[in-house]
Structure formats: C-alpha cells, structure tokens
C-alpha cells in the first residue's frame, strides 16, 4: 500500500528529504524540479514507512487505499510519472 502525493503538494520537498529510500522525485537538485507541478512517490520503491506523511506541511500525502474520491486520480499520476520520466525502474 504505497503512499501517494496529491493536489495540495507545495514542492517544498520536505518529504523527499525525509524519505529513507529516495523514492520521491524530482528532488530540488534534479533537473525538472524548477518546472515540476508537484512531486511524486514511486509506488514500486515506497516502503510505506510514513516518514513523508509526517514531513509534509500541507497534508498532501495519503496511503493509496485511503485516498478520498476527489483525489483518486493521483494514484495513477504518481505511478505514470515514473513510467514516463526515466526515474526509478
């Protein structure tokens, strides 16, 4: 049950700094960060430790099976980002 970043993401990347397996991208040091609409969690690498949820200042991160209906699309958006961007697997 990986975690998912949703609408209120503010790109401050506190989550990426807190993630022990570096599965949140783009980080502020990566190309693409400055134009990124939001950050994304790689569902194949997330170890469900919840550190990002604690770090997020705007409650943007949910467990995928607890996503409210209005935010359900973000599960796909997080996953597709990694399929298309060359990050991760």
């Amino acid at each position: 049950m990986p975690f998912v970043i949703t609408r209120s993401c503010c790109n401050d990347a506190a989550c990426a700094a807190a993630c022990p397996v570096d599965c949140i991208h783009p980080t502020p040091d990566e190309p693409g960060y400055d134009s990124a609409e939001m950050l994304y969690i790689n569902p194949d690498e997330c170890i469900e430790c919840e550190a990002c949820v604690v770090a997020c200042p705007v409650n943007a991160i949910y467990r995928d099976d607890e996503l409210p209906d209005s935010l359900s699309r973000f599960e796909e958006i997080n996953a597709v980002y990694f399929q298309q961007s060359g990050h991760g697997a």
Partner: protein, 458 residues
C-alpha cells in the same frame, strides 16, 4: 570567519512564503546565532498564503504552521504594519542589520494590451483574489455579478481559482475563510457560466494538473471543453505534465454536460482581441488562433480573422503578475524583478553587488513556481548572504536592536509585534469556530490594530 560574538542580524522585508523560508534557513543555522527582524506592511503575516491562496484550499494554507514554528523561535521578531520604503528606508534598515533580504513578491497584474481593457467591469484577477481573501487594501472593490457570463482572460492557476470561486455554491463558500464582504456579494451571484480563455493549446495551458483536476470537484459544476479545441495537432506533448493535462482535458471534452446550474468552459486557441462595450463591459471579442513554430522551434500563436463575440458582464484579466520597482533598489524592467545575481542585489550596469542587499521569491526570480519552490530559492539567497558574511563583506551595523525598536516606534507607532498578531489570529479563529469556519478574517487595519492592542481575545 567573522570573529564577532554578536549575532548575525538580518532584516527580512515581506512575510510571505519567500521571506518565511529565508527566515527558516537562517534560524536553523547552528554554527552561530542569527537575529531575524521580519517586516510586513500589513498587520497580518504570510503574504499570499493569506491573501492569495484560494479560500477552498485550506490544506495549502497549513504551510503557515511551519512558518509559525520559525517565528516562535528566540531570535525572531515581527515588525508588522511597518512598510519599508515608507516608514523606514533601505539605509535605515541597513544601519541596524548586517544584511536585508527583500521578499516583497510581485503584486501587480500584467497589463493586457487590447482595446477596452479599462472598461468598467474589466478587472485584474489578482485584485479580485485579494478582494475575496479580505486584503485590507482591496476590501472596498465592487464587482458586478449580475450578468449570466464572466470571461477570464488567461488560464493559469489564478484563472482556475477565480473560475472555481465564481461557480461555487454559497453553502460551500460559507465553510471557508473567504472574506465576509465577498461571501455576501457572491451569495447574490447570478453568473451561470465562466469562460476561461487560453490563447494556446491544451498542452501549453498555464494551469497545473492538480488544479485542473480540482475543477471537477465538487461535482455540482459542469466543466465543459470543446473536443475540437483539445485535439492534439501532431505528436504527443514533450513533457509529462503537458501530456497529463492534454489527456485530462480530452476526458473532460468526452463527458456530456450534466445540466448543472453553473459551468466552467475551458477554451483553447482562443485569443481575446477586444473587450467590447460602451458604458461598461458587454462582451469579449475572441479570435480563433493556431499554433505556429518559430524558426528557433519556439511555439507562437497566429490569430485568424475568424472572430466571435462572447457576451459577458464581467471580465477578469489573469495573464500573470509582475514585480513593482522598490524605492532605492535597482530594478530589472524586462524581468520585472529587483536586479540580482542568484539573490545578491546588483547594479544592473556593472553587475557589482549592492553591499548587504539580497532578494528572494517572485521579486528575485519572477512569478513562477508554487509555495515550496521558495524554499530552494531562499536557500540559495541565504547561502550567498552567509558566504559574504564569512568573507567579511558585511560590516557590523552601526545601531543595535534596541535602537531599531526605538526608531520603529517613532516612525510607526502602530507597529504590531508577534503578540499582536497572535491576538488577531486567535480572535479570527474564535469567530470562525462560532460559524464552523477555519477563521473569520478581519479586513480593516483599524480593527486589526484594536484587536492586536488588547489582551482580550474576543
């Protein structure tokens, strides 16, 4: 290293996200003590988090908890309701600090150069946002919401914010911290359709995917997209976000309207060429457009003679914002920013740094990015400042913190400190609690000062 034992004294002008992240970067230094003096021209802090973020985006505003934690640390002081450039000049500030960071944002709407733009009923979107968010300088604006259609020119996230607010039910708005005057005005809102005009195609839309998705919730508003305007001309868009937006727009286009009371119409390849009317706005003339590749590969817009008239009683211009020249500091007219090199304020001609002067946020880089983008931006500025400090380039200020306090009280007796802001904050939250809202905002400076000056929370 600087051998001085006295703390590094830094003034920050502006308490929005850019200034607040700069404060956090400075206060989190463990190597030496830092004293941050934060100024804001309003009696309330947090800049656009308070006066810009849409009232129905409560989670986004939670970022202020982070800023409050920084502001609560010893070594941080608020000087609210004090305007640098008016009550104190740049040199006054430098006399009392090693350095000053300007984080004053980009407060002006960019100008739209089409006939009729100044007709009554045509307004800047940023001002409309400031009005419904209760910014004291904009609370007296009035908007004619009696027409059936409003047109928003431009399609960034601000354009979607105003479209959402204009179509939301009074019941939903009444659960937010929207200003009371706006809630009352919007309760009489007769607008049934908000048309959002984009000159370019779906893949070039300025709004972000998360905000495009937010339009579809709550479901009592129809989102209408013309399939012919979002059919992609040739190859797939090159970036992830452009592909995502184009895909979601095509899904919206494929949906049959459900006959809701209100709708948001997202138009593309539609260039406004004239705001039409005699006494006031009667409509917007829109020309069909196409994308053309320039010789350098950049995409431009070619406007055709094929025009239509969209009747409308209200036009909101939302084509971006722009920084305002700051008294006594060099300004880059082309970019609309304080002239700077990675956050060091510079003389535009020579590129020579102006000693002790730094900048961050929109007034440094232009109006781009979201709230947290300012964390990285402010980090860069603070690195420059600390490097200059370590190199001995920031002389000891001639006056100390007590002298600063005295000077402020002379120039602006109505200064609001952190305790004053806490009184305003709890007053607003308590009023909100009574109405099951996050807060009920004070929108008049005199009311804010009265609450800030008393110890009585209500």
């Amino acid at each position: 290293m600087n051998g001085s034992r006295s703390p590094l004294r830094v003034a920050i002008v502006g308490s929005g996200p850019a200034g607040s992240y700069a404060a956090a970067h400075l206060m989190n230094r463990r190597e030496f003590a830092v004293q941050v003096e934060m100024f804001d021209r309003l009696p309330t802090p947090w800049g656009l988090v308070r006066s810009g973020v849409a009232p129905d985006h409560a989670e986004t505003k939670m970022v202020v908890d982070l800023f409050e934690r920084t502001a609560g640390q010893p070594g941080f002081r608020f000087h609210l309701n004090v305007e640098i450039g008016k009550h104190l000049g740049h040199q006054d500030v430098l006399d009392h600090h090693h350095a000053v960071i300007y984080a004053v944002g980009a407060p002006d709407d960019r100008e739209l150069a089409i006939p009729g733009k100044d007709l009554p009923g045509s307004h800047g979107a940023a001002q409309f946002v400031a009005w419904y968010n209760g910014h004291p300088e904009h609370r007296d604006l009035t908007y004619d919401l009696s027409g059936k259609r409003a047109v928003v020119i431009g399609n960034g996230n601000v354009a979607l914010d105003v479209a959402r607010i204009l179509t939301k039910s009074t019941r939903d708005l009444a659960e937010t911290d929207i200003a009371d005057h706006a809630l009352a005005a919007l309760a009489e809102n007769q607008i049934e359709e908000v048309v959002v005009l984009g000159r370019r195609g779906p893949a070039q839309a300025a709004f972000t995917t998360p905000e495009l998705l937010a339009l579809a919730h709550p479901p009592d508003v129809d989102v209408v997209v013309d399939p012919t305007e979002v059919a992609l001309a040739d190859e797939a868009p090159s970036t992830f976000s452009a592909r995502m937006k184009a895909q979601i727009l095509q899904e919206y286009a494929a949906r049959a309207p459900r006959g809701r009371r209100r709708r948001i119409v997202l138009r593309f390849l539609a260039t406004p060429v004239e705001i039409v009317g005699t006494e006031g706005v009667e409509g917007v003339r829109v020309a069909r457009s196409e994308l053309v590749s320039g010789p350098d590969g950049s995409l431009g817009v070619r406007t055709s003679d094929d025009t239509e008239l969209l009747e409308a009683g209200l036009v909101l211009r939302s084509i971006g914002s722009r920084g305002r020249p700051f008294p006594g500091l060099p300004f880059d007219e082309r970019r609309g920013t304080i002239a700077n090199d990675e956050g060091r304020v510079i003389e535009p001609g020579t590129g020579r740094p102006l000693p002790g002067a730094y900048t961050t946020g929109w007034i440094k880089r232009g109006p781009s990015g979201v709230i947290g983008t300012n964390k990285k931006c402010a980090g860069q500025t603070v690195e420059m400042l600390l490097a200059d400090h370590a190199a001995g380039l920031l002389p000891e200020p001639s006056h100390d913190a007590q002298a600063l306090e005295r000077l402020i009280r002379v120039r602006q007796p109505d200064v609001v400190d952190h305790q004053g802001w806490r009184a305003i904050d709890s007053h607003e939250r308590e009023r909100g609690e009574a109405e099951a809202r996050p807060r009920v905002k004070l929108v008049r400076v005199d009311h804010m000062l009265r609450v800030a000056g008393s110890d009585i929370p209500a």
